[in-house]
Symmetry: C2
Subunit: 323 residues, 2 copies
């Protein structure tokens, strides 16, 4: 690991599967990084210990600890005021998880924390595909569906910092069971897990031949569905079309709220390419209120999965500099 003398922030992205740490400078360069398994179904105390060790290892690579200016944390259901994760679905860490205090006990710096997708939106604004945009929405289409909303160049926090949970708008009243306790949430349809569920719906509904009939639910991946679709597998193609229709329709609803100039898509589902993006654009456009038609772009995030720390890094820099 390289020693460095640049001013940096420590960025931490806590995901349901992996936790990513990075030292990031003001230009968005990741000077050093680390990924470890979150083990979200094990107790928080275990995660806390592992995180503490990894933070200390990473800081030890700095030329001087004084180069570390602040800490940014992106985590599901993060409350930026209290520094806690609140009722995080997919985690067995309890209803109120004191993440900020866990970090501060290791290294005492200003800590800024928000929802992982909110952080991703700031990452796009500072270092990514949204440079120069004032009004946009980031959708992270991974295991779940996360969202971050930028209005007039600022993150939309809402009354208690919990705005932008578009994964939990309703698609079908009484529809698919969501980890959040509701039914029919958008993320149960428009995410990697969502398209897997749609594939299984389709395999049950139709008699069509499909390579996807060889997969168990556990073994099926977004990449497998995407590869099948690119081989013209009818089930895979229909799954992308249905997913695009559901998401495109809801994106039109989001436009009716916020009138963004663009959506920025990231995460596994967004990697499928035109097979997903073309119908998505069409379904959104068809559902747009007349005043919005033709005015809303869909842009793919340019940042790779290992760059997830850029979001919390942008949050930390913004926290230091003011919005």
């Amino acid at each position: 690991m390289d020693k460095t003398t640049t001013k940096t922030v420590l960025a931490i992205d806590i995901g349901g599967t992996f936790t990513k740490l990075g030292l990031v400078n003001r230009e968005g360069q990741i000077l050093n990084s680390k990924v470890f398994n979150t083990k979200a179904k094990k107790p928080f105390s275990q995660f806390k210990e592992k995180l503490g060790k990894e933070i200390q290892l990473l800081i030890s690579t700095l030329y001087s600890p004084e180069d570390l200016m602040a800490i940014g944390i992106g985590a599901p259901n993060a409350d930026y005021k209290t520094g806690e994760m609140k009722y995080p679905p997919n985690f067995s860490w309890g209803t109120t998880v004191p993440v900020r205090s866990a970090v501060v006990s290791v290294i005492d710096r200003p800590v800024f924390m928000t929802n992982d997708a909110n952080a991703a939106a700031l990452g796009e604004l500072y270092f990514g595909a949204a440079k120069g945009l004032d009004h946009f929405v980031v959708l992270t289409l991974g295991t779940g569906l996360g969202s971050g909303i930028i209005v007039s160049g600022k993150l939309l926090y809402g009354h208690n910092g919990m705005a932008g949970e578009l994964g939990h708008v309703n698609v079908v009243p009484g529809g698919r069971q969501c980890n959040c306790g509701l039914k029919g949430c958008l993320e149960t349809y428009a995410s990697v897990t969502g398209i897997k569920r749609t594939v299984f719906d389709l395999l049950a509904e139709s008699n069509a031949e499909s390579v996807l009939r060889n997969y168990s639910f556990k073994k099926l991946t977004g990449i497998a569905i995407s590869e099948a679709a690119h081989q013209n597998d009818v089930v895979a193609l229909e799954a992308f079309d249905r997913t695009a229709r559901v998401l495109g329709n809801k994106m039109a609803d989001t436009v009716a709220h916020l009138e963004p100039e663009a959506f920025i898509l990231s995460g596994g589902l967004s990697q499928a390419g035109d097979i997903f993006l073309k119908p998505l654009q069409k379904y959104m456009e068809d559902a747009l209120f007349s005043a919005y038609k033709g005015n809303v772009k869909i842009i793919l995030s340019a940042s790779a999965s290992h760059e997830a720390v850029l979001g919390p890094a942008a949050l930390a820099w913004q926290g230091l500099e003011g919005p």
Copy 2:
């Protein structure tokens, strides 16, 4: 009409049925006002002539025309940048209606113009039920459904000033025909017109006795439905329940975008009282994502129909003073 020496703004609220004008001071007192029939299905030139005359009459009541500081206009589908109404449904005035220039040709003052429901939101913030709130959404449940969104104490304009068209989020794909050209828009269900349509659905579906079987669609009013419901008419009660369910579910979606502290309801449908508000609160609460449950209020607007000019008046004062 009283002569007055107070600094005032001229406020104009253009509705599908009535156009309301008022001279309003900084305290939100309506010093003088006028209402006329909009005649939205006649040519715009006719409206323009009538509006010009009424403005001149109203200004002639001022002690001095120099007391008039600015003009605020609220109108459906208003573009605050261009000062035009864009594709206003329910109006036969064309796709681009130059309202601001029509007003400036009569009286040359700074003119601020926005969507009627956006103006209503500012009216609530300056003079109404939302004083002291930072994050809220106004829903006007009249002939259609209008909305105005306040984020961090400011009107949410969006990229082209067209944010906040919640009347056109989708409830039922391929559902009821909306005047905007789409199908299944929220305002075709959750508005005075929407509940009338729901009553007619119910009269067709069931054999239940109902006083509402005596009304033609044209004669049926929101007040008649409300009165029937208060007499325990089963069709009327079910119509309010269905309307509340649709609206409550969509309000939960809006919370997932914006995390407001409150919704403020105005317009005919909101006047029905607990028969509508109780199920509305319940359906919204049931559909809220866990982090929001119990944190979002529903408040009735305190301003009466004749006070619709307070919205555009607040817009004008805000325009003069800066946000």
